[in-house]
Symmetry: C2
Subunit: 370 residues, 2 copies
């Protein structure tokens, strides 16, 4: 998706994406090792325990950009951390948290596909259909999804506990980690609740609170801060990366919602009307409703949360979002936030290579098509 | 329920129950304080976040014996711990874990009642019915139950992190805590899966593995061990309390399943046929099936997992369990385990007052009617 007004350094951005892929490989290698350990332990318990690990490994390894663990590593390096053999294993904690949250999310949204294959609760539903012809396969699938998510969560915390840092450092990291976990939980509570509410009952502040809790904190600022904690960076450094993360995270989410309405269906891998059907209160929708005339508001209300939104209705909503200036409002916000995020970083106070990477990442955030 | 063969010291048992109540009061007072703190923090986020805490507080405070935190305190005192102002707050961690697991359990079992009132996911379902007339209240309720459980879990870990012990002690406690959490998860995986399997596919070893993971570890041995970690007890002391906990925990669970089939429906607060309807693979059922003749096995197979089990069918199953010697097998096991648990404890190596309490508790475990 082409967004106007963003000042993109193409070369820097491409390098950042390449860097991200390099880290992803390292993270994936370490993840595979970890799953091996989990499997060995599960074998001592019961074959059904081994199945838990097999399914979880499949679900985790089949995709994912590993942005969050990569940002832990980036935060660590940005403030002078120099032991990759320590930080890479520690960074897996947030990927385990991610698997756990996605598994629970898939249940809540009743999604059947994740990363191009069956969601975890559906894998267990299929297992039930094959093995136990009598009971309720759907209930069984959801139940196993809840528990396997819970187990993945215990892995996340254990990963921090066993990491090779001093006790005081790990304790600070654990504290930050649980704050991220809690905030994501509250963000999810708000998100699910706002989806049920009407457009009259959700305002811009509500939407931005969800963005702050679920994206700025969880996806960007939190991981970067964790990295600085592991490398014992200064308060000034931590705050600088936090501010970058919060701005870039907000830019990410506002852009993400724009992609959800104006992006390429095929590249996104989901129908373009799905955000609408979900009743998702994006900034685009809330702002269009705020600024719209009676007719426009009526149309937005009718379409949001409706089952089987047609292509014509999507086009209609797109039109209203543009006519009310809501598209422009989101676009401006995204571009401004991405610029501000890049400006926050000071290469005299952080590793210049990482600063370059993070600026490239900010460009990518507002240029990507997926 | 009267069980033959148990050597019960009535006075010691009564004192233990009284002691448990005393600790429960202290734990509850501390829990209320904690919920106050959570609420203050949630107020800064959003009114819907405050509702999370209100519902969670209601669910947690309306009942519960607080056996697990009391056992953390007992383990702590048993090995010489002398700072209640430190251990009581730390002990809340396992009660938060318990609330989280119960909330998720209620969803899995589709239970509407817990501790004499509405389960958490049903509270949210009712909230939806009142506030949002359009969407799917049931789905919303379950979704919120999943998330609020997850948030309670983050509280559990945070409670340990902020407790007032040295870093190394807390790290050991966190490690134990996550082991308990993980084992309980695996136990739940097995439990849910075995409920779906037929009697031909679950044996005594399977049943005892679930007991070990879900009750011995989680309810008894784990909390006691946590207590010894906080008070820096010796390895010998930890192992002694662990062995007591594993035996008493197994006795607890085997007795619990006996109560579920032969207990007093009114006192239990659940229909006596509910374990049967759930398809629960108890030691009673598995052993009766193992020893039964063709006709008895057929009847057991027909009844287990059936909807709407009649009183006549319950009586029939009870008869088969007795005729096959399965009742006697469980009874002997329970009594033997409770005796062994009491014998493991050595008042020269542990605080004699706590030894007395734990022996009284073992008596209570195989005498209680609820």
């Amino acid at each position: 998706m082409k967004i106007e007004g963003a000042e993109i350094d193409d070369k820097r951005m491409e390098e950042a994406v390449k860097e991200l892929k390099k880290w992803r490989e390292k993270i994936n290698k370490e993840l595979e090792k970890e799953f091996g350990t989990h499997k060995q332990r599960a074998e001592k318990i019961h074959p059904e325990g081994v199945k838990v690990i097999d399914y979880l490994e499949d679900y985790t390894m089949r995709g994912g950009k590993r942005v969050r663990p990569a940002l832990i590593i980036a935060g660590y390096k940005a403030v002078g951390g120099e032991e990759p053999e320590k930080i890479v294993p520690a960074s897996l904690s947030i990927e385990a948290l991610q698997s756990y949250l996605l598994i629970h999310d898939d249940i809540m949204d009743e999604d059947e596909l994740r990363r191009g294959d069956t969601t975890l609760h559906k894998m267990y539903e299929e297992y039930h259909e094959k093995e136990f012809p009598d009971g309720r396969a759907e209930r069984f699938g959801e139940n196993m999804g809840i528990i396997v998510g819970d187990i993945a969560n215990s892995f996340a915390v254990a990963q921090l506990i066993k990491s090779d840092f001093d006790c005081e450092i790990k304790m600070k990291a654990l504290e930050k980690f649980e704050q991220i976990h809690r905030h994501t939980g509250y963000g999810q509570v708000l998100d699910v609740t706002f989806n049920e509410k009407g457009l009259d009952d959700v305002d811009e502040e509500d939407v931005l609170t969800v963005h702050y809790l679920k994206t700025s904190q969880y996806t960007m600022a939190g991981p970067l801060e964790l990295g600085t904690i592991f490398a014992e960076g200064s308060e000034e450094q931590r705050k600088m990366l936090k501010e970058y993360g919060e701005k870039a995270g907000k830019a990410f989410q506002v852009y993400d919602d724009m992609l959800g309405l104006y992006g390429d269906e095929e590249k996104l891998g989901k129908p373009i009307g799905s955000d609408l059907e979900e009743g998702k209160k994006t900034l685009l929708m809330v702002k269009a409703y705020e600024n719209g005339n009676e007719e426009q508001r009526k149309k937005l209300k009718e379409t949001l949360g409706k089952k089987d939104v047609t292509e014509e209705e999507v086009r209609e909503v797109r039109r209203i979002v543009k006519e009310t200036g809501s598209y422009e409002y989101s676009r401006e916000m995204t571009v401004k936030l991405a610029e501000e995020a890049k400006d926050v970083l000071d290469e005299e106070k952080l590793d210049p290579k990482i600063v370059k990477f993070l600026r490239g990442l900010a460009d990518y955030i507002v240029t990507r098509e997926v």
